[in-house]
Amino acid sequence: MSLKTFSKLAAFRRFPACTTSIPCRFSNTLSKEIVEKHRKSGLNRDQEEIEEYKGPIDATREYKHVMPEFLPSSTWYFRDRLKDKLERYDMVKRRSQIDIPEFYVGSIMSVTVSDPHAPGKQNRFVGLCIQREETGLRARFTLRNVIDGQGIEIQYDMYNPTLQKIEVLKLEKRVDDDLLYLRDCPQEYSTVPFDMEPVPLAKGAPVPVYTKMIPLNPLPWERRWNIKQYKGVTIPELSKRREKRAAKYLKTLEPRKHDIMEDYRKSIPEEMEEEVYRTVHEASKKYPKATPSKLTGKGK
């Protein structure tokens, strides 16, 4: 091997594959900057030609609240443009197969799953939705119910192909983002009968909000609910020491309210939101079933 080629090879070997200063969580992925650079370079034959959309964008705001899992993750290092885009196509395709209705934390739902061990090859669970988390194909929600005095929670992957049917029995919202505190509340607040009939909502009516305050049981708790700043729960009187400790913790959160950088990292720009939901909207035209059906009354 001549010296010239050797030096060339060495230079090639020294060429950094990942030139970002950001700590890369997954070492097997290329950084966004490099992908963008090669996408825009003239050498790229299959260059994307993104047409500017000029027509009216309808129902974007509504989509944001009904299908929040289409947006990229709020954790910045989980975002990946290509991965997110491919996942979105898969999600729309899945939505064309199964009707995933509009629901929120606080809605009463029933889920039917195919179960190879059950006698009817089916398993149905009814419960109150207490949590909704993650984005993309990993989106999941948790149902809670009390059966025979036993609190039970089941977490469902929303895009799991073994889900057969998702029904919303009562469409309702709560003031809190999650209702995990129901684990330490009286059982009557998380009890839902299995033979509950769906409560119809008038067509075009806004989603009702449950504003009653729920009392919390006395200590001990599973977590320190008093530091979570929930709005829909009344916390009993605590010892001075506990209150002092909570105040100390909450004080540490104060400077983070003014952290603009953290807000920026967590938020998703409006242009990106619009782009996401425009593509979803267009894709859902191709699959007419993909848009979520609202729970509407027949009479009104």
């Binding site: 799953v113 179960d115 190879p116 061990h117 059950a118 398993n123 669970f125 999941r140 948790t142 059966i147 025979d148 005095g149 036993q150 609190g151 039970i152 929670e153 089941i154 977490q155 469902y156 992957d157 799991n160 073994t162 684990r183 006395p218 200590l219 001990p220 599973e222 010892s239 020491r241 506990r242």
Partner: protein, 173 residues
């Protein structure tokens, strides 16, 4: 044993002496209430806290008996739920479907975990508010005739002695 008893007797006598002093002190200065007089713990028993509760099922974890066996009922009435003294597993951390050895009412009994809180939530499988256990004898036959709470449907895939528990289960979720 006798040494142990003697030491406990010592402690109680010492405590009585202290209490005597405290009562005397209280009679002298009734406004200042000494803490020693309080024989009961303060209300809301966990006013003090140590480390956070572990969600794992391991040795010395307290369990809830969910079958209708006399032994389980007696332990519940006495307010002394059984404790795990061994998990039949290499890792030593039990999960739903695992076999454990329990200390209950001064005797050793085997049992199967039929539901637990769990440190993490596995999707498509139920998570329970309590750590539930069903008692069995040495041959794997359940001591009770009925499981009073629902159990996970995925347990139906289990084979061997566990099928005896599935026979006495009332509900699956």
């Amino acid at each position: 044993m006798s040494g142990c008893l003697r030491s406990i007797a010592d402690v109680t006598s010492h405590f009585n002496k202290l209490n005597l002093v405290a009562t005397k002190f209280h009679s002298l200065a009734p406004n200042k209430s000494p803490k020693l007089l309080a024989s009961k713990p303060p209300e809301g028993a966990s006013n003090f806290s140590s480390t956070s509760a572990s969600q794992h099922i391991m040795k010395l974890t307290r369990m809830r008996v969910v079958d209708n066996s006399a032994l389980g009922k007696a332990a519940q009435v006495a307010g002394k739920p059984p404790r795990v003294i061994h998990v039949y597993k290499k890792t030593g951390i039990g999960h739903t479907g695992d076999k454990v050895l329990l200390a209950i009412r001064g005797q050793k009994t085997r049992g199967y975990i039929v539901g637990c809180k769990g440190k993490r939530h596995y999707p498509m499988k139920p998570r329970f508010d309590t750590n539930n256990v069903v008692l069995v004898d040495d041959n794997g036959n359940p001591l009770g005739t009925r499981i009073k709470v629902p159990i996970g449907s995925h347990l139906r895939a289990n084979e061997g002695d566990f099928t005896k528990l599935l026979a006495i289960a009332t509900k699956f979720v």
